[in-house]
C-alpha cells in the first residue's frame, strides 16, 4: 500500500498559490450573515461559499458493527489502521460486506500484495457485484473472474449479524444461518452525504444530496455545492442519483 505522504499534496502548494488554508471543522454556516463558524470559535466571512463536504460511510444497523476488527474505509488514516490491524498477528480471514468499488479494490489489492495468503469472502445483498454500476450481464463476468482469482463471492446474501468474542470479531452470520469465520470485517455498503452545513444554510436538499443547477449553484444565493454532497443527474436516465466516485468530484472542483 502506498504511504499516506506519497498520495497527498503538501499544504505548501496551496500557500505558494496564495490560498489561505484553515485546518478546523466548520460547525455552522449562516447564509444571511454570510459567515462560517469553526470548531475553535472563529468566524470566517464569505462573499461566495462552496460546500464540498463530501459523504461518510453508512454503518448498517447490524448487530456486531462495533466489534474490534470491524472497519469502514473512507480516508487515508482508515487505510493505515486497517493495514496495521491486518499485519498484526498476520490476520488472513477477511469478510468484505458489500461488493462495490471500495471492497473490490481492497480485495484486489490484498490479493496482489500477498497472493494466495488471504482468505477473502465478499458478501453482497444484491444479486451481483458492482450492483449500482453494472447490469447483470456485465457483472456476472466480473463475478466469475473474481471467483477464479480465489475470492468467495456470496451474492444475494443478507448479513444477519457480525459475530464476536470478548469484543473482537470472529465471524459473520448470514440470514441463511451460514457462519463464516472472520478475523476482520470491512463494511462498505454505501455512504450518506454530509449535509449538516447545507441544512444550516437552508439549502434545498433532494433524495441524494444538495440540489444544484448545472453551474453548481444551490437554492441559496452565493452558495454553491459540489462533489459527493450534491445530488447528480444520471447521464442516461436523467434521474437524480448519488455521487459515487472521487474523479467526478475533482472535475466538478475544476
Amino acid at each position: 500500500m502506498a504511504t499516506v505522504d506519497s498520495i497527498t499534496n503538501p499544504d505548501q502548494m496551496f500557500a505558494d498559490a496564495g490560498i489561505n488554508l484553515i485546518i478546523a471543522r466548520a460547525t455552522h454556516a449562516d447564509g444571511e450573515k454570510k459567515k462560517v463558524t469553526l470548531s475553535d470559535g472563529r468566524e470566517i466571512p464569505y462573499d461566495k461559499l462552496l460546500l464540498g463536504t463530501g459523504a461518510s460511510p453508512v454503518v448498517p444497523p447490524i448487530e456486531g458493527c462495533d466489534l474490534r476488527g470491524v472497519f469502514s474505509l473512507r480516508s487515508a488514516p482508515d487505510a493505515v489502521e486497517i493495514k496495521n490491524f491486518l499485519e498484526k498477528d498476520n490476520r488472513r480471514k477477511l469478510v468484505l460486506i458489500g461488493a462495490g468499488f471500495i471492497n473490490l479494490e481492497v480485495a484486489t489489492l490484498l490479493a496482489t500484495t500477498r497472493p494466495d495468503y488471504y482468505d477473502v469472502t465478499v458478501i453482497e445483498l444484491l444479486a451481483h457485484p458492482l450492483p449500482l454500476m453494472l447490469d447483470a450481464e456485465m457483472a456476472v463476468q466480473i463475478q466469475e473472474y473474481l471467483t477464479e482469482k480465489g475470492f468467495k463471492m456470496k451474492m444475494a446474501q443478507k448479513v444477519e449479524r457480525i459475530l464476536g468474542e470478548n469484543g473482537k470479531v470472529v465471524g459473520v452470520e448470514l440470514a441463511t444461518g451460514e457462519k463464516i469465520e472472520a478475523e476482520m470485517v470491512l463494511l462498505s455498503v454505501g455512504v450518506k452525504q454530509n449535509l449538516e452545513l447545507a441544512k444550516d444554510l437552508g439549502l434545498e436538499i433532494g433524495k441524494f444530496g444538495v440540489k444544484v443547477n448545472k453551474f453548481l449553484e444551490t437554492s441559496v444565493p452565493d452558495v454553491m455545492a459540489a462533489g459527493d454532497c450534491v445530488e447528480k443527474q444520471h447521464f442516461v436516465t436523467k434521474r437524480p442519483v448519488t455521487g459515487q466516485l472521487r474523479g467526478p468530484a475533482v472535475i466538478q472542483g475544476r
Binding site: Y46, G54, S75, G253
Partner: protein, 44 residues
C-alpha cells in the same frame, strides 16, 4: 467575483483543492480560503 471579495471553500477531499487552485488562477485578486477538517489533502 470582484477584487478583494472572499471565496470560502469548505472541504478538501475531492472538490475543494482543485476548486481553490483554479479559482485563484482565474481570479488572482479574490481572497480564496479553504477550510478542511482532515490532516492532509488527499490527491489519489
Amino acid at each position: 467575483m470582484k477584487k478583494g471579495e472572499r471565496f470560502v471553500i469548505i472541504g478538501m477531499g475531492g472538490v475543494g483543492g482543485p476548486a481553490a487552485m483554479l479559482a485563484k488562477r482565474l481570479m488572482p485578486e479574490v481572497d480564496v480560503t479553504v477550510i478542511r477538517e482532515e490532516e492532509r489533502f488527499i490527491v489519489r
